[in-house]
Symmetry: C2
Subunit: 286 residues, 2 copies
């Protein structure tokens, strides 16, 4: 199957990401339908032209008519959906997702789906500090990374199709990782950073801080404004990898603490120079 | 003394901050001169109209002609300068600084200056991840905080004059703190955040991370690009307060670690909700 405007895309779960997918796909001329729990989300998406059809029902015809199904659900909701309704997916359908952790869902979903339905997992590394379809914005994909996360069961056709979907959505960079490498990487780059921001925000209750803050503190804690339902689930779904990254980071922090305590300025400066050199590599390329 | 365009301002130390002060003051019509060590900095500042006069010498006439002297030097360089040349400051001169820590310099400087020369300390909470007069930009003051840090020795006239200087430079908010409260606050808001960013950057040497990073990691580590000479001195000059804030933060981080480890999702979510509520207060007011 090749992704072109003749294909029908079904989005299951119309939140911020599902809605932003719909927005991007409609702009590219695709037929987009949606299934979600909240009737207000459907009403909003229809009214704003994000979808062509939508329902809160498990509509068998809509599911059967879809060439590509994108699940934009929390991990446990996705697992439950596949368990209960996965048999409704017709052979030849390509199924993908947006889940932020992979090891705990990918293999189980591939094992549960009916013969002929291929699940190719993906992680769009984009988001906002707000949720809900009303905040949909396909601009969040520009300049961002889209990671395709295949297993040995996936065909090269499905991997290509999933890459095409990432390009169609407008992502700047498309890459491919194994579930294990993905989860290790995400534990450090995304989950640990959220743990740090939350901890920093909870560590000091002085109400006067606000009026003296600078941009460094604001930047560092931007993600401390966090969806607790989603992130607590993601943390626990990737617990071992996250705890490992937390250990490594804490050991480094403790090392710097010790240098400050004993006044070892040379070692402090060595760390700062390493930090500066590494950080430069992370600047966005113009 | 009241700050108006008849006053001569002397800036000692033409780096990023000194140069940005000069730029802002010249735009407001003040006469600005400078003393700094590097002849290239003087040449640049003259060529770009940041100053009216400048020299690498300890020019007694220039010092005597100044109504207001702003020291934009590292803490130990400032202390040495006052110790060696402080006697050249004429009675009636108002002296201020930009130092990022206060307790370790303010009292000593006030004790060292000649009779009739008042030192009123200030901390402009603005900067960039680059240094040098060539990167001067008075836009860094817009929207930023300027903190006046008086001791019991300061007159209300000097405090008002220093506030006026902050306003003239273009700062959005001017406030007043004791040296002790300033150092506690800065240990948390500024120094701890730099410790965190440096530690995070040093905690993982996987070269593949760059291609998978998102904006959260970039935001959190922006300040990991750090001037090691300046910050190692600032950390050690405020060691006790910084170590205390590092302890508090680490205890909070360890608490979150424990919740994740034992799977206590309710407690994780409590922390995330507290973090979210607090962080909202830090959003910039429109």
């Amino acid at each position: 199957m090749k992704l072109d405007q003749s294909k029908h895309l079904l989005i299951v779960g119309l939140g911020l990401l599902g809605g932003s997918y719909a927005m991007a796909l409609k702009k590219q001329g695709y037929t987009v339908s949606a299934i979600t729990r909240d009737p207000e989300s459907i009403a909003y998406a229809l009214e704003h032209g994000l979808i062509d059809r939508g329902t809160t029902d498990i509509d068998e015809d809509l599911i059967a008519a879809a060439d590509v199904v994108v699940f934009a659900l929390y991990p446990h909701v996705l697992m439950n959906w596949i368990r209960e309704h996965g048999h409704l997916l017709k052979a030849g359908t390509m199924v993908t997702d947006v889940t932020g952790v992979k090891g705990c869902v990918v293999y189980d979903i591939q094992a549960m789906l009916p013969h002929g339905v291929e699940f190719i997992s993906a992680h769009p590394m984009a988001g906002r500090e707000v949720s809900g379809v009303q905040n949909s914005d396909d601009a969040i994909f520009r300049g961002a990374n889209y990671i395709v996360v295949p297993t040995e069961k996936n065909t090269s056709d499905a991997i290509e199709l999933c890459k095409d979907l990432g390009k169609t959505l407008g992502f700047a960079s498309i890459s491919v990782l194994t579930p294990e490498k993905h989860d290790t990487m995400i534990a450090f780059l995304s989950q640990l950073t959220h743990c740090i921001a939350v901890s920093l925000m909870c560590a000091n209750d002085d109400p006067d801080l606000v009026q003296y803050t600078g941009d460094s503190f604001r930047d560092l804690t931007r993600i401390a404004n966090i969806n607790d339902e989603m992130w607590s689930e993601l943390f626990l779904a990737n617990r071992d990898a996250l705890l490992h990254e937390m250990d490594e980071y804490r050991a480094t922090f403790d090392r710097l603490y010790e240098y400050i305590k004993i006044g070892d300025r040379d070692s402090m400066r060595d760390m700062m120079r390493l930090s500066t050199a590494r950080r430069r590599e992370f600047n966005k390329k113009a």
